[in-house]
Every structure is written in C-alpha cells, then in structure tokens.
C-alpha cells in the first residue's frame, strides 16, 4: 500500500527522502563498481516486467478477490539487492508521476517501505539463508513466503509509523496497526506464493540465472556494517525527531502564551502566524475572544478547542519542525546528491 502525500508532513517526508536518497546513492555507487554492463538493460527491462505484472491480477481461490505480484522480492532474487533497489525505485517513480500512486513527497517513504525492506533486509537475511546455495522447490517456497510476509509487514508498519509521526491523520497508532498488519499479512502471503511460483518456474527453465545474483553478493564486505549504521541512524533519527517534536512545541506554546498576554497588537501576530498557523488558531484566538467577547466563533474564535490543547500541541510542534526538518533534510539530500555529482563524471 502506498503512502500518500496528503497524510504526510514535510518533516517525515523529508526524512524518508533523505534515507531513500542515501540508499539510492549508495546502491548506484555500488553498482558502478560491481556491475557488468549487460545487467543495465536487464534492470530496466525487469523493472518494466514488474510494472506490467503488477497490473495483471489472478483470482485467489475461495475468496472471490484477486491478487497480483508486488515484485520487490523477485527483483532482489534475480538482480541482487542494489540493482533491485534501484529498479523498484524506478517503478515507484513512474507510478508516482503517471498514476499519482502516493505522490512526489511520499515517494521517499514508498521507496523505503517497498524497496529497502525486501531488498536490504528480507533478501539477504531471510531469503538467502533459508533458500541456501542450491534451493529445492520446497525451500524456495518457504523462503519466499516468509521473506515476502516479513517484508510486507515491515512495509505496512513503516506506513503506520510515517502516518502517525506526521500527525495529519487522527488514527491512533494502535488501531491503525491493527488495521494495516492483518491486511498486509494476506497480501504478503499472496506475494510470497506468487514469487515462489515464479521462482520455481524460472529455476526449472533457467537454472543459470540463480548463480548471477549470488556472484554479485560475494563481494559484499561493508554491507552489514552499512545496513547496521543505516538502521541505527533511522532509529536514532526517528527517536530524536519525536523528542524534538515535543521540545520546540512546549517552548513555542509558552512563548505564544506569554507574548499573547503581554502584547495583543497585530504585528506580533503576523510573525507568529508564519511559524505555525495552528498555533495561531489555538493560542491567539482565545485572546481575541478575551478581548472581543461579542465576536462570533465563525470569524475568529474556536473557544471549545481550548479543552483539547494537549493534542494540537503535538501537531503544532510537528508543523514547525515540519518546515525546519523538511528544509534541513532537503539540504542534506541536496548535499549528498552534489557530492555524488562531483564524483560522477570521472566514472561515466
């Protein structure tokens, strides 16, 4: 399931873009050094295959519904994690641009949810150990079902975390998790079965294909370290941003209260309204009300909202850190891209 722009705050969107941009840069630099030339068109054509396969449904027996291939895992098996990650990112980019699946700001989230988990976690740490060097039919089946289910559970959990951290939807964490995870358990099972069926088919028809990805993976030395670092960065970044969202929030709120009480003149309001429009409606409007009791609720005041100050507080913080965080992460992503661009011409 795709994350959507409308549910995303720029802080979360920007953070996920930074994470995905970093992974894309890492994957492309890895590919530049290890890729033999004939895999370039293979990546493109396989991505086109996944795109087409996602649009072909099959009926799931006994349910009346239908399913289709997601494609992350099978790309990872056929191409290796780095090439697969780039391929999935390209498929998601086309979907975001032409079908508005997700959206442009949410593309970072979607690349991470649907690319990182299957390619960099499920394939190397679940699929490969389970399938082994010379996989039998049963082992292929087990490995792909488990890897696909785990991958989709992680992806769905990512959507939940991103949505809740953005604070645009009111859906509480618990109920959203309970909605998303079971649905994606079913989707993951379908994905696993289809991937396994295709892999068994391919294994019979083209056994030589399965050597390629493993060959590619032999040269990994830094990968566990980098994956570990990326994970740690995500956890720390995510954790810090939660706390960061709490801090300026409280400060801002009390500042607004103080300045609102001491100076009721308009210019001050203007500056504050640039920081958080929400803040304005909750912290300032009571002043309006206080000053102008006869002004009706429609033009300025939302008196009842005072009772719910604990919730808006959180989201006001999110919107402020949203702007700042969004810009900072964009700058960061830009910096990464710039560094990469410097290096690009020497190789290309």
């Amino acid at each position: 399931m795709h994350m959507a722009d409308a549910l995303l705050s720029p802080a979360v969107g920007g953070t996920m873009w930074a994470a995905s941009a970093g992974l894309l840069a890492y994957s492309s630099s890895r590919l530049k050094t290890t890729l033999d030339d004939n895999r370039v068109p293979l990546m493109g054509v396989l991505a086109a295959f996944v795109f087409a396969a996602q649009m072909i449904n099959f009926s799931i027996p006994g349910t009346g519904s239908s399913g289709h291939l997601g494609g992350g895992l099978i790309l990872a098996v056929l191409l290796g994690p780095h090439a697969a990650f780039l391929s999935i990112a390209s498929v998601l980019a086309v979907q975001a641009l032409f079908f508005a699946d997700g959206g442009l700001l949410a593309l970072g989230c979607n690349i991470f949810n649907l690319g990182f988990f299957p390619c960099f976690l499920c394939y190397p740490f679940i699929f490969k150990p389970l399938a082994g060097e010379a996989p039998s039919r049963g082992r292929l089946m087990t490995a792909s079902v488990i890897a696909a289910v785990v991958g989709l559970q992680m992806g769905a959990f990512g959507v939940v975390l991103e949505t809740v951290a953005s604070g645009i939807s009111e859906l509480p964490f618990n109920s959203f998790v309970l909605l998303m995870q079971p649905i994606h358990l079913a989707i993951g099972l379908v994905e696993g079965v289809v991937t396994a069926a295709l892999l068994v088919f391919l294994h019979k028809a083209r056994p030589e294909l399965f050597g390629a990805a493993q060959q590619n993976a032999k040269t990994r030395s830094l990968r566990p370290v980098i994956v570990g670092l990326a994970l740690a960065a995500m956890v720390v970044g995510g954790g810090l941003s939660w706390f960061a969202a709490g801090d300026p929030d409280g400060l801002e709120w009390s500042m607004a209260k103080v300045s609102g009480k001491e100076e009721l003149e308009a210019p001050e309001h203007g500056i504050h309204s640039t920081l958080g429009s929400l803040q304005k409606s909750f912290a300032f409007l009571p002043d309006y009300n206080f000053k102008e009791p006869e002004a009706t609720a429609t033009d300025s005041g939302k008196p009842e909202a005072q009772q719910t100050e604990s919730w808006p507080n959180v989201s006001a913080g999110t919107s402020i850190s949203g702007l700042l965080g969004g810009f900072m992460t964009l700058c960061l992503a830009g910096l990464v891209a710039l560094l990469l661009r410097r290096r690009a011409p020497s190789k290309a």
Binding site: S28, G44, A48, I56, V94, A100, L104, R206, A266, Q279
Partner: protein, 277 residues
C-alpha cells in the same frame, strides 16, 4: 487499473507533454524545483487548515491552463487517488469531536476540518504532480533530476524502464488476449495460469534484455542515453518562473488570504483590532 487502461493513461500524458507551449519550453529543472517547493509549503500547513489551502490551487490550475492540459483529466485522476486517503482520513471526524465553531445549527468539529484538509491536500498534490508530468514529460523530468545531481545509474534505469514499459506491456497484453481467446472467458487467471503466464513473460523479458543489450552495444552505447531534445538552459524565463511562484508560495503559506478577505469587514470596522484600528 487494468494494464491496457494504464498504458492508455501513460500515453495520454506523454502526448500532452509533447505540445509546444511557453510552459513546455521552460527548463524542466525550474518546474521540478517549484513543484517540490510547492509540495513542502502546502503540506506543511497545520492539519486543521482548510481555507489556507485554497490559494494553493492556483499553481496546478495555471500550469494546466498555460500548458493546455485538460482540467477534466487532472480532476478525474485526482479522484482515482482518493480512496486510500479517505480510508485513512475518514476516522478523523469520528475521533476528534472537539467543536471548533458553529455554522448555523451545524457544529463543525476538528475532525471534520482535518478530514476536509486531507482530501484537499490530496487533490492539490495529485493534480500538481500530474500537471508537472503533462507539461514537462517523463524524459525531461528525469534529465532535470540528473542535472540536479541524481546518480547516472538511476537516471539510465528510469529511462530504460520508460522505454521498455510499452514494449513489455504490449507483450503482456498480447498474451492476455491469447489466453482469453483460447479459454473463451475473460476472468482473472488462476494461480496456475498466472504462474505460467508471468513465467513466460519473464523468460521473454530476459531474452529481450539480452538482445537489447547487443543492439545497444552495436550502436555504441557508453552508459548514457542520448539526448533527444536540445538541452535547455536555465535562462531569464526560468528565473522569472521560479521567482514569481516562489514569492507567491511564500505569501500564501504565511498569510491565510481567504481568512483575511473574510475578515476584511471587521478590519475596516476596526472591531478586531486589525489593519485599521
């Protein structure tokens, strides 16, 4: 969405992007950057904002009008993207019942406001993204991203995908048609059929990738796709485009223009302690 309608939609947008209007001629980097700035400034508004979102419609509207993109197309696509957003947002009115203000007898709760805000955000984000593609074209967007620093490997990957999408989808459609003609029913294939169908498609795909690579090597492929259009520069028109839209977006992000308009009588009367006390 079925494969054939998906292909149709892509081709439709592709056709639109090959028009030749001043908006189409702008360097793609300008359009991409303004679109990103647009998304960040629009989506960073607080979650109860509804009126402040409205002026943001100006950007996709003007882009579409100047680029001769049919508005009906954008709106239809935007409607298609709504279900997931509604699925997640529909709980807002149920959960957040704090009354914000009254319109006559109707109490407007925070949940209603944030739900309306979510739907509006989705419409704006989707129409803007599609309008960008319709006045720029996929290839130009990719090249713009490449010139803004996207790694070459990813650029080539995107261009490959876009070129072979049509070929592969046509192949898949032919196989689906063949299946329908043989079994004389147009339902979804069973898992068994699906496996064989996709498996054969995958084998053909792999073969095609090999042939494509041979052909490209014969024609001197050096790791980068050749430019089909003359390279545009970031000239005065682009600076103007960025400056005007940048200022506009900053203005509508900071000032809630519809609210100020609505409060105008109060300001003039000096009741709210506004512009003319």
């Amino acid at each position: 969405m079925g494969l054939d309608s998906a292909l149709h939609e892509i081709r439709h947008l592709d056709d639109l992007s090959s028009k030749d209007t001043p908006t189409h001629r702008l360097d793609a980097r300008a359009k991409v950057l303004v679109t990103l700035f647009y998304l960040v400034s629009m989506l960073s508004l607080g979650r109860y904002e509804v009126s402040a979102l409205l002026p943001f419609a100006a950007f996709p509207l003007l882009l579409a009008v100047q680029g001769e993109v049919p508005l009906a197309l954008l709106l239809r696509r935007a409607a298609l993207a709504l279900p997931f957003v509604i699925f997640v947002g529909i709980f807002n009115p149920l959960i957040d019942r704090a009354v914000h203000f009254h319109v006559g007898p109707l109490a407007i709760t925070g949940g209603m406001l944030s739900f309306a805000s979510i739907v509006l955000r989705s419409l704006l984000a989707v129409t803007t993204g599609l309008a960008l593609v319709a006045v720029t074209g996929f290839d130009q967007i990719c090249r713009a991203l490449g010139r803004l620093g996207m790694p070459t490997t990813l650029l080539v990957q995107l261009q490959f995908l876009y070129r072979y999408l049509f070929v592969l989808a046509d192949e898949a459609l032919r196989m689906l048609h063949a299946r329908v003609q043989r079994c004389a029913k147009n339902n979804h294939p069973t898992l068994r059929e699906y496996r064989t169908l996709l498996g054969s498609l995958l084998l053909r795909t792999l073969d095609r990738a090999g042939r494509v690579h041979q052909a490209m090597l014969c024609r001197g492929f050096d790791g980068q796709m050749p430019d089909l259009r003359p390279t545009t520069t970031f000239g005065p028109a682009e600076w103007r485009f960025c400056a005007i839209w940048g200022l506009f977006l900053i203005a509508v992000r900071i000032l809630n223009i519809p609210q100020h308009l609505g409060n105008l009588p109060l300001y003039l009367g000096g009741k709210a302690g506004g512009l003319f006390p």
